[in-house]
Symmetry: C2
Subunit: 302 residues, 2 copies
């Protein structure tokens, strides 16, 4: 039996765990709600380890069948030191030596990184970015993040914080403040004149052909376009991958977005770039954890 | 005698030529006005070659003392093929095989690249960016351009067009349309309530302590900040170099610009980044030509 990697994708609301094969397939998965464990980082770490033990037991795995554990976390991570510097949406996480703690408790190799970095690694190696040497991966969700690949090398930046496209200034706020989940539900409520609490509602409406909802997604494309066009002009990527929960609506916003990019990006950049939807969905973070642990990618040094 | 490189910096109004030493010093320089030669590319190329011959003769150089010729051009260049695809501000230049033409006429090795790329190479290797592995170089002039260095490698992008920060959308126009020379003179005329035709006039006024002029440069900082902050958040550069003609006013706009970046950029990015003025001034393009010809730098492959 080939060894598997345990992927742990820590989110603000859920922790997802999965067993990932050597070829990047998720063989088994589980998840639990983060919210019962936010009062202390130790209880959250213990809950993760309990879930790892259960999952590996269910799957009949022994320690010798496991290569290690890879964590994706929504915050500021030092992957080299294995330290979680801060998780903005999970209280109490400041300078946590997560790698060391989990290694000591499990006696397994542990690696950690930012969640968007793992999604980018996964989409690049096993998903929509396969075969590309340069790409930008953008995740649209509660937060808006990004990952960068240049010349077949992942680029984290000297402070491990590159890719923060969500924090590009846009119309006196930031890109994220316009196209993040929270703003989208507010905008949708206003436009559709009813109380929208989840972006998924506008997704279902659009799917059923609701004209207002379809129009709403076109307006989202108009807010996505400027920062994407700027990034495309600046970095000349042949591929932009759009992932994250909001990318479920790719069919509704992409045609308008693509036409705006062709119209307004610089000629060479606009002609070269392909805009595609992420392929790996919710599994991307888990699969990225496997790539990170196996070190099966090149990175630009810091 | 060590061999020298002939640098040719083609601009919309002037062509600058210089002899550059093996250590990146400009030993001699000359220039002529572009405007008499815009009716045909052949006359411009011949004028450049005549000027090269004169300059080398004056300096007592024989062919064996010359390594080759490096061109910087304000437009879309394919440095690999040695082809000028288009020069937006010099009519008649479309798909000109400049490298081949000049090689045949001079029997010397020839390399060509975009002018902002050469400035970036020069500032990185011999100027304000010396010793840095990652940086963004921005040129503020009639056009606004940029060059990118990641992990000690120059990044041109797969279409040789990366770095175009001037074309980042900004307030319904682009960054360049707000902070380029032309707009700055218009803005200055409006703010100072007198006819300003050159940015240098507002420079002199500020130098003399004119309050309106000093206030004007602060307002320029406010227009520079958003796109710079976005780029800093996205790429996490430890250094941003500001060059080009407008950077003469660095002392007037930099304090405000730096304070806006410290205030509004993301914490790690903002703390890490240094904003500095370019060091090589008008010589940067010539010095970059030497680096390009000698190939004394690494680049990310396309």
């Amino acid at each position: 039996m080939k060894k598997v990697v345990i992927g742990v994708d820590v989110g603000g609301t859920n922790v997802k765990l999965g067993l990932v094969s050597a070829t990047g397939r998720v063989l088994a998965r589980t998840h639990f709600s983060t919210k019962n464990f936010t009062h202390s980082k130790t209880t959250l770490i213990n809950a993760i380890i309990d879930n790892i033990n259960e999952l590996t037991k269910e799957y009949g795995l022994k320690k010798k069948n496991i290569s290690g554990i890879g964590f994706g976390l929504p915050g500021l991570i030092d992957p080299k030191k294995g330290v979680v510097k801060v998780l903005p949406n999970v209280p109490g996480w400041h300078n946590v030596a997560l790698k060391k703690i989990v290694q000591q408790k499990t006696k397994l190799p542990v690696v950690i990184d930012n969640d968007v970095n793992l999604i980018t690694l996964a989409e690049w190696k096993y998903g929509a970015g396969r075969g590309y040497k340069n790409l930008v991966c953008i995740t649209l969700g509660t937060g808006v993040g990004g990952g960068l690949v240049f010349d077949n090398h992942f680029y984290r930046g000297p402070g491990y914080v590159a890719g923060e496209i969500g924090h590009f200034p846009y119309q006196d706020k930031t890109f994220e403040r316009y196209v993040g989940n929270k703003t989208l539900t507010q905008l949708a409520s206003k436009r559709l004149r009813r109380k929208i609490t989840e972006v998924s509602e506008v997704h279902l409406m659009a799917k059923k052909g609701h004209k207002g909802a379809l129009k709403f997604w076109k307006s989202v494309a108009e807010h996505l376009a400027p920062t994407l066009i700027g990034t495309i002009n600046l970095l000349n990527p042949p591929l932009v991958i759009i992932g994250g929960g909001v990318s479920n609506n790719f069919p509704f916003f992409a045609p308008k977005l693509k036409s705006l990019i062709k119209q307004k990006a610089m000629p060479v950049q606009g002609r070269m770039v392909k805009i595609v939807r992420a392929k790996l969905g919710n599994d991307a973070g888990l699969i990225g954890a496997q790539i990170l642990l196996k070190g099966k990618y090149n990175a630009l040094s810091q």
